[in-house]
């Protein structure tokens, strides 16, 4: 691991990605990417469409097999574990293209995850945990609605609640602010800060620049499967490569 590609590894590193590559035939979607996320840290991952952000997420969550490299959670190598085992080790995620349980109700969506959690955490009371989460995300008024019938912004909240129901150590959020109104996005940002303050690590893929720059402690930019730059939001915004490859001009960043 080189200092240029991520934060230095410390005792409280939650996620550690080392030299991960994904090849689809001749196309290298992710090329020897290394990054790490500390406990309670919110890290942003930006990059143009097709840069490999979602592919990297899929590798971390175990949905996509990497061609090479190692993924560790809390120091443990999970590169060969199937997705449900990784979830049990504390990885939660949302999806860019919504993956809700469409024919279950809002409550059932969260409950199913809370019940799955009981498999590895006997202390949890699924029903109670579900009620708490629904209240916290202001979904309690909708608990009986079938999720397919809800607007996509609300479905994103359901996905988030479902991911949180597994009490993850690391939350992978794939464009969680898209489809949210400005007000909802602000509420979401407040919530994520609270969660981070409680010790949850968040890796955030986002196109909404104000959202990601305002929220993240560090930001990495991925382009053509390679991490171009990592730093504080201000450093990344000032980087000429970032402006050229992604943002186009300075005005768009503000």
């Amino acid at each position: 691991m080189t200092p240029a590609t991520g934060a230095p590894m410390t005792q409280d590193t939650v996620l550690d990605v080392e030299g991960v590559s994904v090849r689809f035939g001749g196309l290298v979607a992710v090329d020897a990417v290394s990054l790490s996320v500390r406990r309670g840290q919110i890290m942003g991952l930006i990059g143009p469409n097709g840069a490999g952000k979602t592919t990297l997420f899929n590798v971390i969550a175990g949905i996509q097999h990497a061609t090479g490299g190692v993924v560790r959670i809390g120091g443990r190598d999970i590169s060969r574990l199937p997705p449900h085992r990784r979830a049990r080790l504390g990885i939660g995620r949302t999806f860019q293209r919504l993956e809700v349980f469409g024919t279950l109700t809002v409550r059932e969506n969260v409950l199913v995850a809370a019940e799955a959690r009981r498999r590895w955490d006997r202390s949890v009371d699924p029903a109670q945990a579900t009620e708490d989460l629904l209240a916290r995300l202001h979904l309690d008024t909708l608990h009986g609605e079938m999720v397919d019938s809800l607007p996509s912004g609300t479905q994103r909240l359901v996905e988030l609640a479902r991911a949180l129901a597994c009490a993850p150590r690391l939350l992978l959020l794939d464009e969680v602010a898209s489809g949210l109104s400005t007000y909802e996005a602000e509420t979401m940002a407040v919530l994520l800060r609270e969660l981070a303050a409680d010790g949850l690590s968040v890796l955030l893929v986002e196109h909404d620049m104000p959202f990601v720059m305002g929220l993240s402690e560090r930001v990495s930019m991925l382009d053509h499967g390679v991490i171009v730059v990592t730093g504080t939001p201000a450093e990344v915004q000032a980087n000429p490569d970032v402006q050229a490859a992604y943002l186009g001009s300075r005005e768009a960043v503000a």
């Binding site: 199937p82 979830a87 999806f95 059932e108 799955a116 109104s181």
Partner: protein, 756 residues
């Protein structure tokens, strides 16, 4: 994934050892020389040619339309019969008949299928797509049996009847076989040219790669799907005409089921890759030819050669690379299941039970037997409800499982009579269900469907007829349950009904339980389920064991009701048709299986007792075809739709039902001929509908379903949704003005363009 790799290498060793054992055990003793290997290859090539042409049809249609065409064999069968009619009945010259069948009939037929049926399935779930093509297959089979009486001979001569051919390694490769090889090669070259050198072909490849993106680039699905069905239909017809002379007399059923043998070739190509499909066809041809050249199957294994392609499919599935978990759920998920309240369950159960107890003894023995068989069939199908309806796993072989329950019910009777025997039969079948699905457990839905058909084929053709299973019929005594003797038909009917109701309550409880939610979650999104810590393989394995248990109990009931057990009770086609009927009536309901079982019994009674001869055949033809159409109009299944309709518009439904019953009763009481009676009942229903329409000004919702041409089909709905900008991913279908741009910005969650 090291554990997984180890598990797989264990699988490799086990399968290799089993195959080696079969080879050594059955070695015929012929010497392995250049000559004998040459002969083997000479035999393999034409077989491979047939597989290649059939599998190409499957792959082309699947990859460009997303529909795996189980009717491919039946379409080819139909083409072959048309060719026979032109050639033998109308005495047309061979070349002209061939041209008309392959270049005129087959393309038109394929295009019609696409326009009338298949295009409307674009948004349907895997299960609905599969069962709709299953309905088509059964319908074509029925039509063929009406048009070409199966009792009279229909034989297609060789294309070059004078014989001769190419001699190599001491084998004559007849012209017929040379043409088969040539046709496969020509098809490969033609497709290569079409897909890489023409605009339409490139569009087809684009759709295979990314359908959404292709739409955005203005590729019209209609044109490519039409072309795909034309190609599929031509492939099917060519393959059937080429293979038919080798099979002797044309048999509609044999030709239809022949497609199962090509599944393995398509699976090697992972249902998308044509060159690999050809490789698969060649390997399959070599395996079949190897076994006929070097192996000799006698005794217990006499039937094995017939199922080698099906076994090959299961082996291929076992070694297909593990797919990544499927991301991207169906565009539209139907709520396939209805979860009734306990009150509804209690009332419905009480009504059914009282009806059976009160009216059962009044009925004749034959009717009672049919009803008992219906209840047993219902139990078998009840096992499919958690599997197909809730977990969304397209398992199409209920009789494959039920057969084990049936065999055990007979086998265990001396030692474990009564309820214990039935329960043990169920438990053992649960294990069988688990083992049978191991190859497909980790794979995606469609492979499971193919694997299940192969499993049913192996079970019915090879396993059940084994000498130590069911090679002859045996009597089965009705059991004593809790000291009650069930030898009278009415008492067994009550027993079977009680078993059905208890199991139905059990699966309603299951659906409401934690595990039920887990099943639905897995169906709605495998990726999300895995990412909240649900093990997909474990969940599927459990639901298979539940399905196996219930189907096993159903199989036991079936043979105890009929008081004998025989392989013929559980035919392959019969199993497929009851699945079709279950999906039509509502695959996620606990009432659907009983209705499907009753319909199957009613059909049997009507076609054998009331409408003998041609009219009975017509009914069996119309049934599946109507079912396929119904499925497309009411994809959730008839029972949930009718219940919803009755709640919303009770009057028209009641009036129509009253008209139907009145017409039927008049028909029966006046001893009118069956068809006139049916016509009267239908007229009664129509009259009831008209009357209800006069009473209520509102247009009936149910009539909308009948007026299907006016109904926007899913593609149109998607276009409208895109026009309404409900889903920006579907692309734009109209010009963008200021207003639309505002809506678009809002839908995409970005601030208005001007404000930037």
């Amino acid at each position: 994934m090291r554990a997984l790799t180890n598990r797989r290498s264990v699988g490799v060793v086990v399968v290799a050892a089993a195959l080696l054992w079969v080879v050594i055990r059955s070695w015929a003793g012929s010497p392995v020389t250049v000559n004998s290997i040459g002969q083997m290859i000479m035999f393999a090539l034409p077989i491979a040619g047939i597989y290649a042409v059939q599998a190409t049809g499957l792959v082309v249609v699947y990859s460009s339309t997303g529909i795996f065409n189980l009717a491919q064999g039946s379409i080819g069968m139909f083409g072959a019969f048309i060719y026979w009619t032109l050639l033998v009945q109308w005495h047309l010259p061979e070349a002209l008949a061939l041209f008309l069948a392959v270049c005129v009939f087959a393309p038109i037929f394929g295009l019609l299928l696409d326009v009338v049926l298949m295009r409307r399935l674009a948004q349907a779930t895997v299960i609905v797509k599969l069962t709709a093509t299953l309905g088509l297959s059964l319908g074509l089979l029925g039509v063929a049996n009406v048009l070409w009486n199966p009792d009279s001979p229909h034989a297609i001569p060789n294309l070059f009847p004078q014989g001769g051919g190419l001699t190599a390694f001491g084998v004559v490769l007849t012209w017929q076989r040379l043409i088969t090889i040539g046709a496969a090669l020509a098809l490969a070259l033609a497709l290569r040219w079409l897909l890489f050198r023409t605009r339409t072909g490139i569009s087809m490849r684009a759709i295979v790669d990314n359908a959404d993106l292709a739409t955005l680039f203005g590729i019209r699905h209609a044109r490519t799907s039409g072309l795909a069905w034309v190609l599929g239909s031509v492939c099917a017809t060519v393959a059937s005409i080429l293979i038919a002379p080798e099979l002797g007399n044309l048999s509609a059923q044999t030709l239809s089921l022949l497609i199962i043998d090509s599944f393995a070739a398509a699976a090697v190509g992972r249902l998308r890759n044509l060159p690999m499909t050809y490789v698969g066809a060649l390997l399959l041809g070599l395996v079949v030819s190897f076994s006929s050249t070097f192996l000799q199957f006698g005794g217990d294994f006499a039937q094995l050669p017939a199922v080698i392609p099906s076994i090959a499919l299961l082996v291929v599935l076992l070694f297909l690379p593990e797919p990544t978990v499927h991301v991207g759920r169906a565009l539209r998920t139907y709520r396939m299941e209805t979860v009734p309240s306990w009150r509804t369950v209690a009332i419905a159960s009480a009504v059914v039970l009282v009806a059976v107890v009160a009216f059962g003894p009044l009925m004749s023995g034959t009717v009672m037997l049919q009803l008992t068989v219906a209840a047993a069939t219902g139990v078998i199908l009840l096992g499919m409800v958690p599997l197909l309806g809730w977990a969304g796993l397209p398992f199409l072989a209920p009789y494959g499982l039920a057969g084990f329950g049936a065999w055990l019910a007979w086998r265990l009777q001396p030692d474990l009579p009564g309820l214990v025997g039935i329960l043990v039969a169920g438990l053992v079948t649960a294990v069988v269900g688990l083992i049978a699905t191991i190859p497909a457990l980790r794979l995606r839905g469609l492979y499971l469907a193919l694997g299940s058909i192969a499993f049913a084929n192996i079970a019915v053709t090879f396993i059940f007829p084994l000498p130590w299973l069911l090679n002859s019929d045996h009597a089965v005594a009705p059991p004593d349950i809790l000291g009650l003797n069930l030898s009278s038909p009415s008492s067994f009917l009550i027993f079977a009904t009680v078993v059905y109701l208890l199991l139905a309550c059990g699966i309603v409880w299951l659906r409401r339980s934690r595990f039920g939610r887990r099943l639905i979650a897995t169906r709605d999104s495998e990726a999300a389920a895995a990412c909240v810590g649900i093990s997909l393989v474990e969940t599927k394995a459990i639901v298979f064991m539940i399905a196996g248990f219930i189907a096993g109990v159903g199989g036991a009931l079936l043979v105890e009701a009929q008081q004998f057990v025989s392989v013929d009770q559980l035919p392959l086609i019969g199993g497929l048709s009851i699945v079709l009927s279950l999906v039509v009536f509502g695959v996620g309901t606990v009432s659907g299986p009983l209705v499907a079982g009753l319909m199957a019994a009613a059909f049997a009674v009507i076609s054998s007792d009331w409408l003998q001869g041609n009219w009975g055949d017509t009914l069996t033809v119309v049934g599946p075809a109507l079912a396929a159409l119904g499925l497309i109009s009411l994809p959730r299944g008839a029972v949930p739709e009718i219940v919803a309709d009755a709640k919303e518009h009770p009057l028209p439904l009641a009036a129509r039902t009253a008209g139907l019953v009145l017409g039927g009763v008049i028909g029966v009481l006046c001893h009118l001929p069956g068809l006139v009676g049916v016509a009267l009942a239908v007229a009664g229903a129509a009259a009831g509908g008209v009357l209800a329409g006069l009473f209520s000004q509102r247009r009936s919702h149910a009539l909308d379903a009948l007026a299907w041409p006016d109904r926007p089909h899913p593609g149109q709905q998607a276009a409208e949704a895109a026009a309404g900008l409900d889903d920006p991913a579907l692309g734009l279908s109209r010009d963008i003005d200021e207003l639309v741009r505002g809506q678009l910005d809002q839908a995409l969650g970005i601030s208005p363009a001007g404000a930037r």
